[in-house]
């Protein structure tokens, strides 16, 4: 077969261009750390990368929600602890006032302490989180109580989704938790002040029921809080797994890329050398 300068040159240029394209591709891999930068690099991998990035964004959203729920429930837990403490203080004062040996001044001091517990609880139940009342149910812009008798919230509590199929309650029906506690504390204080032992007994019994209600509510919050840690841990694991799958599809294997870069550089050198040699070996050179 006749070999012409043109075909040798064209072939050399073709191989050199191919090698240069490989060098560019590998350089991009090494520089960016990515083996897939556009869909045509690997369409299947690109679909998987988009899917994993969407999953990670989804998980990030869940992680953010879980963090928010944790903060919110910690506040709720703290408020309920305060209320339980105040009920306990009121019970102690109520029991102390359930006797005929106290002076009027002593009874008045106990009654005032019980009223103080009531006011502290009233203040606690009006706690806000991110400018929204936690214990007003769906009426989060309205304080659940103002005077301790009327509940201004509703029973429509909100929940947040913190992972697929898992929701956690984030607002609470203050009316259901508090019930008649404020009225009971007012009654108890009045009875202690008046030395009305029968009413004190009745009020203490009602207070016990209220204590149980608040404790049950706090237990639910505690359970949610403890499960949140598991949820957050699971979300972290899911995110890591998703990121690993993304990296498998998207990120370059540096050892392979650098090795490939060296190989393609060698191929480009060889193609250019071939062109150079083909240009040198001419009969004309031997006829000088």
């Amino acid at each position: 077969m006749r070999v012409t300068f043109q075909s040798t040159f064209k072939n050399g240029l073709y191989y050199s261009n191919n090698a240069a394209a490989q060098v560019q591709k590998r350089s991009l891999e090494v520089g960016s750390g990515l083996k897939v930068t556009k869909a045509s690099d690997n369409p299947t991998a690109m679909a998987a990368i988009i899917n994993e990035k969407t999953q990670m964004a989804n998980i990030d959203s869940y992680i953010k929600a879980a963090d928010s729920v944790e903060s919110r429930l910690s506040v709720v837990d703290s408020v309920l602890s305060d209320i339980i403490n105040q009920i306990t203080v009121a019970q102690t004062n109520g029991v102390a006032g359930r006797t005929t040996v106290l002076t009027a001044t002593q009874r008045d001091a106990l009654a005032t302490a019980i009223e103080g517990s009531r006011d502290t609880m009233l203040s606690a139940i009006k706690t806000k989180f991110s400018d929204a009342y936690l214990f007003s149910g769906g009426q989060s812009l309205t304080a659940p109580y103002t005077d301790g008798t009327t509940y201004y919230g509703d029973a429509n509590v909100a929940s947040l989704t913190i992972s697929d199929g898992r929701t956690v309650q984030t607002t609470f029906d203050g009316g259901a938790i508090i019930g008649d506690l404020f009225d009971t504390l007012t009654t108890l204080a009045t009875a202690v002040r008046a030395g009305n032992l029968g009413t004190v007994d009745t009020a203490l019994a009602t207070l016990d029921a209220g204590f149980d209600r608040v404790q049950v509510a706090q237990t639910h919050v505690g359970v949610d809080l403890s499960r949140l840690e598991e949820d957050q841990s699971r979300l972290d694991s899911l995110r890591l797994a998703s990121d690993k799958r993304r990296a498998f599809n998207e990120e370059a294997n540096m050892a392979e890329s650098i090795s490939g870069l060296k190989q393609s550089e060698a191929a480009q050198d060889a193609a250019l050398s071939m062109l150079s040699v083909a240009g040198r070996l001419k009969l004309l050179d031997y006829l000088k």
């Binding site: 043109q6 064209k10 556009k38 045509s40 369409p43 929600a65 947040l160 984030t170």
Partner: protein
């Protein structure tokens, strides 16, 4: 004496023949880098004796100069070039489309994630003005991204359309040149004919890169060229131009021949590839984008419409409602009323309960809902399918182009092996003719000396 004088004349002709050989070699060397040039070979013939005397012969004469070419290789190139032209056009056009889709995690997929994140944040704080403003701004960003993406696809289609128009102009220019060569072929010398044939072949190669053509070579060296389905492009000295008309509704270029629309008949060559991109691929991407936008608008509006505003009343549509999927990506926008007043954004699913977040939660959950492709795919899945589809089309075209380029390179090499100028060969020819010239010049000198000797005898 008359014999010696005859030899002088005969040698003079021989020197001219060797000189002509050098001339041909020079022509070959001069055109070593001329595309489509076929090397010339000079053929000498011995001149027989003038009569039946004892003469050895009449020396040498140039019989003819041949342009060396193999028509099979040219025909194979004419057949292959439309395919590589098509794939090359698709690769070029799709590389622009692919770039306009953006990077993974940095395009519409990111806007979608931000949009649903904003709803999740609103679900966390249903009454927060900041969360509401974030929902609005992310929705506007999403709508703008869809608008821009649709515009970029439209621009790609328009660019492709412009390329089609330019390519048709190029075809018309090429056919005019080929017809002109046909006209000249009838009146030029053999040497001139070879040059015109080289030019003719190059022009047909360019033509074949633009569209599939049928080439019929006539005995006189002229060619008749027609489109794949027989519409004439060149007959003899006449070129028949392709026309362009604008499609009434879309303004797209329609290719005509003799007033007939032949657009759908052109499937190969650069024009075939560009038509495929303009009329099939880009519209298919646009349809997918529209369906995605329509799905988002419809699903979000359905849920939002069932919710309640911060004031506790029925919520309006979140996005401006769309009548159909067609054009949805271009038309997607946030309802002007909602954009003007973020309290109209529905987070609550219960009337007069501003702290309720069921609607916001449902809207945030749309991210994972199988709402597309007949309930089989999420919005992000649909976007991924669109992006990977473009990538697959581009990759397929690239693979096909690589394969076609290999074939063309091989055919080109074969053609070069027959028609190409070999520098060593031409150098050898140069020496051959130089040596031949020198030997004959020496012979001329010898004859001249013999004549001198003969003339000296009488002195």
């Amino acid at each position: 004496v008359s014999g010696l004088f005859g030899l002088l004349g005969q040698t003079s002709n021989t020197l001219a023949a060797q000189s002509y050989g050098l001339d041909v070699t020079g022509q070959n060397l001069a055109n070593i880098n001329t595309a489509g040039y076929s090397r010339r070979v000079v053929t000498f013939g011995a001149v027989p004796p003038a009569d039946s005397s004892v003469s050895a012969g009449g020396g040498v004469e140039v019989l003819y100069v041949t342009a060396i070419r193999n028509a099979i290789y040219d025909r194979r190139l004419f057949q292959e070039l439309p395919h590589s032209g098509r794939e090359n056009a698709i690769v070029d056009a799709l590389s622009v489309v692919e770039a306009s889709l953006g990077t993974s995690g940095g395009s519409i997929d990111k806007s979608l994630a931000n949009f649903f994140d904003a709803w999740a944040t609103l679900a966390d704080n249903p009454t927060s003005p900041v969360a509401r403003a974030t929902v609005l701004s992310q929705a506007q960003a999403l709508a703008t991204d869809f608008n821009n993406m649709a515009a970029r696809l439209d621009t790609s289609a328009q660019d492709t359309d412009r390329q089609i128009r330019t390519s048709v102009d190029t075809i018309n220019s090429l056919t005019t040149q080929i017809a002109s060569i046909n006209a000249k072929l009838a009146s030029v010398s053999e040497g001139g004919k070879a040059t015109l044939k080289d030019q003719q072949t190059e022009l047909i190669k360019q033509l074949a890169g633009l569209a599939t053509v049928q080439v019929v070579e006539q005995n006189d060296g002229t060619v008749q060229i027609s489109m794949e389905k027989g519409q004439a492009l060149v007959i003899g000295e006449n070129a028949y131009a392709l026309g362009i008309t604008d499609e009434p509704l879309t303004g797209k270029a329609l290719i005509t021949s003799g007033g007939q629309d032949i657009t759908s008949q052109i499937t190969a060559g650069a024009i075939g590839g560009l038509l495929n991109v303009r009329d099939t691929l880009i519209p298919s991407y646009k349809t997918q984008l529209d369906e995605l936008a329509y799905g988002i608008v419809t699903q979000v509006n359905t849920l939002h419409d069932a919710g309640y505003t911060l004031a506790g009343v029925d919520a309006p549509n979140f996005f401006t409602p769309l009548g159909a999927a067609a054009g949805a990506a271009s038309l997607m926008s946030v309802n002007a009323a909602v954009a003007a007043d973020t309290t109209l954004i529905a987070a609550a699913g219960v009337a007069a309960s501003p702290g309720d977040n069921t609607t916001a939660t449902s809207l945030a959950a749309l991210r994972n809902a199988l709402t597309m492709n007949g309930g089989k795919a999420t919005f992000a899945d649909s976007w991924g399918k669109l992006v990977s589809g473009v990538g697959q089309d581009s990759k397929t075209a690239q693979a096909e182009l690589t394969s076609r380029t290999e074939v063309i390179t091989q055919i080109d090499n074969l053609r070069d092996s027959v028609s190409g100028v070999n520098l060593d060969e031409e150098t050898a020819n140069m020496m051959k003719f130089q040596t031949g010239y020198e030997a004959n010049a020496r012979f001329f000198t010898t004859v001249n000396q013999l004549l001198d000797t003969l003339m000296g005898l009488g002195a």
